[in-house]
């Protein structure tokens, strides 16, 4: 198995950087490609099994888009071919048609792989928790976002929301999945927080293996799930 962690030095805020690392520790035999922003991504000429990219600052989004723009068609080809791509936090924004910053009025052209627009309000941040289901798995996670996606209808959602925030207030779905391209606004260590989902991704890559530190990860997951399903626990 080949894992590519894209630009982890700038796209790994809030613990997102641990997702690729956790996959690697779950499958120690996997080859890890930690690509820096100054380097050519491995996927440009090779075929990784899993690509991870995580949260970044708004100025970094612009740099990452410019870095990946010449590789947009290659990314589309990998998505169509079933490569697993996990984009967490605001990493999903870069795949959109455009990012509109309504605070300073700037518009950044995205990679255009998806038809949606992202509207960013730097003075209107949302943070909260999300409980959703994906293929029968309960997924727990956190959100902290300045940007919201508009015009993403037509795609298969990642999560069916059970509690908390989806793509917008009141939305019953969150994120999207195209083949094995998982785009979610859940940020941080989504894989260590969800060991069953980690194992699902590993199986999608054709590997067998259980999540690293499974006992500890499952104990933490079960505790959080109990809290998230407790009606007394506040969500907004």
């Amino acid at each position: 198995m080949k894992i590519e962690a894209l630009f982890g030095e700038v796209c790994g805020m809030n613990g997102d950087v641990w997702n690729a690392e956790y996959l690697h520790r779950s499958v120690p035999s996997a080859e890890m490609y930690a690509t820096l922003l100054t380097e050519t991504p491995y996927f440009a000429s090779g075929v990784p099994d899993i690509i991870c990219i995580g949260s970044m600052t708004e100025s970094t989004q612009k740099k990452v888009i410019e870095k990946l723009r010449p590789l947009a068609s290659r990314l589309k080809e990998l998505i169509d071919g079933g490569t697993i791509i996990l984009a967490t936090g605001n990493a999903g924004d870069i795949f959109s048609r455009s990012i509109v910053n309504i605070t300073d009025g700037t518009v950044t052209k995205g990679l255009g792989i998806l038809a949606n627009e992202v509207r960013v309000d730097m003075l209107g941040r949302f943070h909260g928790k999300t409980l959703g289901s994906f293929r029968g798995m309960e997924i727990v996670g956190f959100q902290c976002r300045f940007g919201f996606w508009h015009g993403i209808s037509g795609h298969t959602p990642f999560l069916q929301i059970e509690r908390g925030m989806g793509d917008c207030a009141g939305c019953k779905t969150e994120g999207y999945v195209i083949n094995n391209f998982f785009c979610t606004s859940l940020l941080g260590p989504i894989l260590p927080l969800n060991p069953k989902f980690t194992e699902y991704l590993i199986s999608c890559a054709g590997e067998k293996g259980s999540a690293a530190y499974r006992d500890e990860a499952m104990a933490s997951y079960q505790r959080r799930l109990a809290e998230f399903t407790d009606p007394r626990v506040r969500f907004e």
Binding site: V10, T38, E58, M122, F146, L187, P189, Y213, A217, F228
Partner: protein, 460 residues
């Protein structure tokens, strides 16, 4: 229109003062509510209040409370009247409470000086309406995503709100802080020299991996933690500025350090030897020196200052020494710096009791724990630390992080119960117990301190 606004202001002042009186009559601290009520009635309260003659604001991710308290205590030690918000909140409501308490009904300020600690996010609500004469920023670090999102966002907020005529005091060793408020020409930098201890040896400039001017990689001459140290761009001239006030020769045994400024060297007393508090002391020194106080006076005043008890306290009970240290919850950098500090202290058989969850979020909510994945647990692997107990609802998250950090799992204990968690410590086995607690667990931490004290005295 102006008359209506002014009438509303007077009403807000009267209402705020009445709320403060009522709270005091009920035996409660009037820290936030009076100001919040006044701001609710008059959104332009800060515009109508008279500005103190010398308004000093202290902001930054970590250390602003300590630094503001040091400056306040030194000014008061010099016999000066000072308004400050040390007993209240540092958000708009708390700032308004402090200002209206020290103002007449017509808004005239009673003290010459005001030292106001300002939460970074409150910058936009305060500075544009009451511009500080002096603004000191301790540092700009990653903080809780709930509070501050990321350093770039906080820089944007501060840069958008500070007037160009404000005199700013910035941390030269924090490349993000040093480049704040480019519109302000009157800039003073403070820092700690490279030969001072506690360089971490890392070469990756966290939080500013690439130059914001040209995009080339940044390089470090040395780093203490995160991006604190001296750094430069590998391609252009962008880099750390030279400090105007620079700490050298930290002598923990003698309890003093040297501040170099303008070619002169001045010996200053150490208030607390954690490197972050050396930075805080230097920040306060640079500001007071710029206000015209002599270094001799500053040294004398600093010698009488201390870190407030609910932030740092050390007691002995029999053979046991108990050290209480506040470690800001939800903040990986702050907690990590306390981990490193304890690991760096001499001695073995140290035991840690860690009460670092966010109680409020875990009582009625469930804490967002992303910060635990930015927290460096590896200092806990130090052989001098024999045992560490994580107490609180998030103990299983810590258990996973300890496993992921590759630490010796046998020396850790996890319990969801905070009350009586110190009973898990076999005090006959340890010389030093350190209790680290978040601001949400001060009362509980103090109860555990008393339990440890009673047990330590009983052994004797």
């Amino acid at each position: 229109m102006e008359t209506i606004k002014r009438t509303r202001f007077y009403f807000a002042m009267a209402a705020g003062k009445a709320v403060a009186l009522l709270l005091r009559a009920l035996g409660r601290r009037a820290t936030h509510l009076p100001g919040a009520v006044a701001l609710k009635i008059c959104g332009e309260l800060f515009s109508f209040l008279h500005k103190p003659e010398i308004l000093i604001c202290v902001t930054g991710t970590n250390g602003k409370t300590t630094t503001a308290n040091l400056i306040t205590s030194m000014l008061r030690g010099a016999g000066l009247g000072v308004t400050n918000n040390s007993t209240g909140s540092n958000t708009a409501g708390g700032i308004a409470s402090a200002l209206l308490e020290n103002s007449t009904l017509t808004g005239k300020h009673k003290n010459k000086y005001a030292v106001i600690e300002v939460d970074e996010r409150s910058s936009l609500k305060f500075y544009p309406f009451m511009s500080p004469d002096h603004l000191l920023c301790t540092n700009i670090m990653p903080d809780s995503i709930l509070r501050n999102a990321h350093p770039e966002f906080i820089s944007y907020i501060i840069n958008s709100s500070v007037h160009e005529k404000t005199k700013v005091f910035l941390n030269a060793d924090d490349i993000i802080c040093a480049n704040l408020v480019p519109q302000c020409g009157n800039r003073t930098y403070f820092g700690v020299s490279a030969d001072a201890p506690s360089s971490c040896g890392s070469t990756t400039v966290k939080n500013m991996v690439y130059c914001p001017k040209c995009g080339a990689p940044m390089a470090a001459e040395y780093l203490r933690f995160e991006h604190i140290g001296r750094v430069r761009c590998t391609s252009c001239e962008f880099g750390s500025p030279e400090p105007d006030f620079c700490v050298t020769d930290i002598n923990k045994q003698k309890g003093c350090f040297t501040v170099e400024s303008g070619g002169e060297r001045h010996i200053m007393p150490i208030v607390n030897d954690n490197i972050v508090n050396i930075y805080n002391s230097c920040a306060a020194i640079s500001l007071l020196a710029s206000l015209g106080f002599s270094f001799e006076n500053i040294g004398g005043m600093l010698g009488k200052s201390h870190i407030v008890k609910d932030r740092y306290e050390q007691i002995t009970a029999g053979d046991l020494r108990v050290t209480m240290i506040l470690a800001k919850g939800l903040n990986a950098v702050a907690v990590g710096s306390v981990f490193r500090y304890i690991a760096s202290l001499p001695g073995d058989k140290k035991c840690l009791l860690l009460l670092i969850d966010d109680r409020e979020y875990n009582e009625r909510d469930s804490e967002i724990t992303c910060w635990l994945y930015d927290l460096d647990y590896t200092p806990l692997d130090n052989p001098g630390i024999s045992k560490a107990i994580f107490a609180g609802k998030r103990c299983l998250d810590h258990q996973l992080r300890v496993a992921m950090s590759g630490l010796d799992r046998s020396k850790f204990i996890y319990t969801a119960k905070v009350d009586c968690s110190s009973d898990l410590i076999d005090i006959s086995q340890y010389k030093d117990v350190y209790v680290l607690y978040s601001a949400y667990f001060i009362d509980e931490a103090m109860r555990e301190k008393e339990r440890l004290k009673r047990r330590g005295e009983k052994v004797i």
